[in-house]
């Protein structure tokens, strides 16, 4: 689940760029988002969709899975 409405809105922007084939800016946006919201699994998963090789995709998906497990933990 995205951290907040702003993050969700930015994901929508990235998705729109992706769907309109503006891959360079979609990836640039997602990379900056991953800096700001490193625990947001959707960002890493979206980055995985733009991976340029197997290793990169595996890394991104691993980060997505890790963040997903973190977000699933009950709040202490």
């Amino acid at each position: 689940m995205a951290a907040n409405a702003e993050c969700q809105a930015l994901l929508r922007t990235a998705n729109r760029l992706f769907r309109f084939d503006d891959l360079s800016r979609a990836r640039a946006l997602l990379e900056i988002m991953s800096d700001v919201y490193p625990d947001e699994p959707q960002i890493w998963a979206a980055l995985a969709t733009m991976a340029t090789d197997d290793a990169e995709m595996t890394t991104f998906l691993s980060r997505a899975s890790h963040a997903n497990r973190l977000s699933a933990l009950p709040a202490s």
Partner: protein
């Protein structure tokens, strides 16, 4: 590291297109990533939707560069802003209305000071040297223009002329030698004999025109009585569908377009394309999703089913279940209603465009996944 300038430009374009919320989000993201990005702060000020946000952004810009002329001018203007609440605006509007109505009816208009145009003050503040920023500020200012928005003086003049003509018309009806009061009532209500006969004639003419111009309109149905395919509906990426006790969806923007030529030692026919879905099983029995449950369609009319072997391979090389995705495509899903991520790999032609994902049981509802995989 991503190029922040690309995103700054993206925000500028959003501002230019009038999408200030998206622009704000983008500029705010840049300031969070790099709090010393003064351009992002200045632009954020330019698209902020209230004075407080604008002031805060300008102050942050000044912390970075205390001599920044744009930020200084912006803050000076904000400090000198005489903008007040709705009471003053209402008062100004009422005064302007009085002035106009006074002119219309020949009374002395109440002398009033011209209400302050806050927007002019804001417009005169170039917050950054770029022309684009000025454009963005102009857009911003339009919504903050506090000029009372009543009818224009020209409109008042036209209304006055119409009122005068109406008075003259009514006077001639009452005073004129040929018309009696009865005639006036009949005319004004449209019930004079002539009016009624004219209306009857027009109606008859219209009916005859309709009858001759489109004789088939009432004889045959406009749409042939043949079965037509149900139109396909594209869903929002946050929507989910249910079929056979399985609930599935593509979480935004978990729309995957893997552009690698090969995933492992088994070559693809053309391009592998990955879509990550979330699936939960509430059917009451454990299930393995059939390979043809999900279908990817393109504009070329081709359908692609999941390459289960490749999908499982992806999970394996990624470190196993729970690392890359929760489950592999060929795994049995326990009936516990827990959403699990699953990577589906399709072997897609390189020229495929407008890819949509559909699930079994919902052939007319799907998700727009990607424009192309080039």
């Amino acid at each position: 590291m991503a190029d922040a300038k690309e995103i700054l430009q993206l925000g500028i374009e959003a501002a230019r297109d009038g999408n200030r919320e998206e622009a704000r989000n983008l500029f705010a993201l840049l300031t969070k990533q790099d709090p010393t990005n003064i351009q992002a702060w200045l632009w954020l000020a330019g698209v902020s939707d209230n004075a407080s946000q604008r002031r805060n952004a300008l102050e942050r810009a000044l912390q970075i560069d205390p001599q920044n002329e744009m930020a200084l001018r912006g803050l000076r203007a904000l400090s000198g802003n005489t903008r007040s609440g709705g009471t003053e605006r209402n008062r100004s509007f009422i005064a302007a209305a009085r002035e106009r109505t006074g002119a219309l009816f020949g009374r002395q208009a109440t002398p009033t000071a011209k209400p302050p145009r806050v927007s002019r003050q804001v417009t005169e503040i170039p917050l950054a040297p770029e022309d684009e920023l000025t454009d963005a500020l102009d857009t911003f200012d339009e919504e903050y223009d506090e000029e009372p928005r009543g009818p224009s003086p020209l409109m008042w003049g036209v209304l006055g002329a119409i009122a005068l003509l109406l008075i003259v018309f009514l006077a001639t009806q009452f005073i004129g030698g040929e018309n009696s009061v009865g005639d006036f009532v009949a005319t004004s209500t449209g019930l004079s004999d002539k009016t009624v006969s004219d209306a009857t004639a027009v109606a008859a003419t219209l009916e005859s025109i309709a009858a001759t111009a489109s004789p088939q309109a009432t004889m045959t149905p406009a749409v042939p009585n043949t079965p037509t395919p149900m139109p396909s509906m594209l869903l929002d990426l946050t929507a989910t569908l249910t079929s056979d006790g399985l609930t599935y969806g593509v979480r935004e923007p978990l729309v995957a377009g893997d552009r690698t030529e090969k995933l492992s030692d088994v070559p693809a026919t053309d391009r592998y394309f990955v879509v990550v879905v979330l699936v939960s099983n509430s059917s009451g029995t454990n299930k393995t999703i059939p390979a043809d449950f999900f279908v990817l369609k393109d504009d070329q009319g081709r359908n692609y089913t999941v390459n289960v072997e490749r999908s499982n391979k992806l999970v394996d090389i990624g470190g196993g279940r729970g690392v890359v995705t929760d489950v592999a495509a060929g795994d049995e899903l326990p009936s516990d209603s827990v959403p699990r991520s699953m990577a589906l790999i399709f072997d897609v032609k390189a020229d495929a465009t407008n890819l949509r994902l559909y699930g079994s049981g919902n052939p007319t509802q799907g998700w727009q996944i990607a424009a192309s995989i080039q």
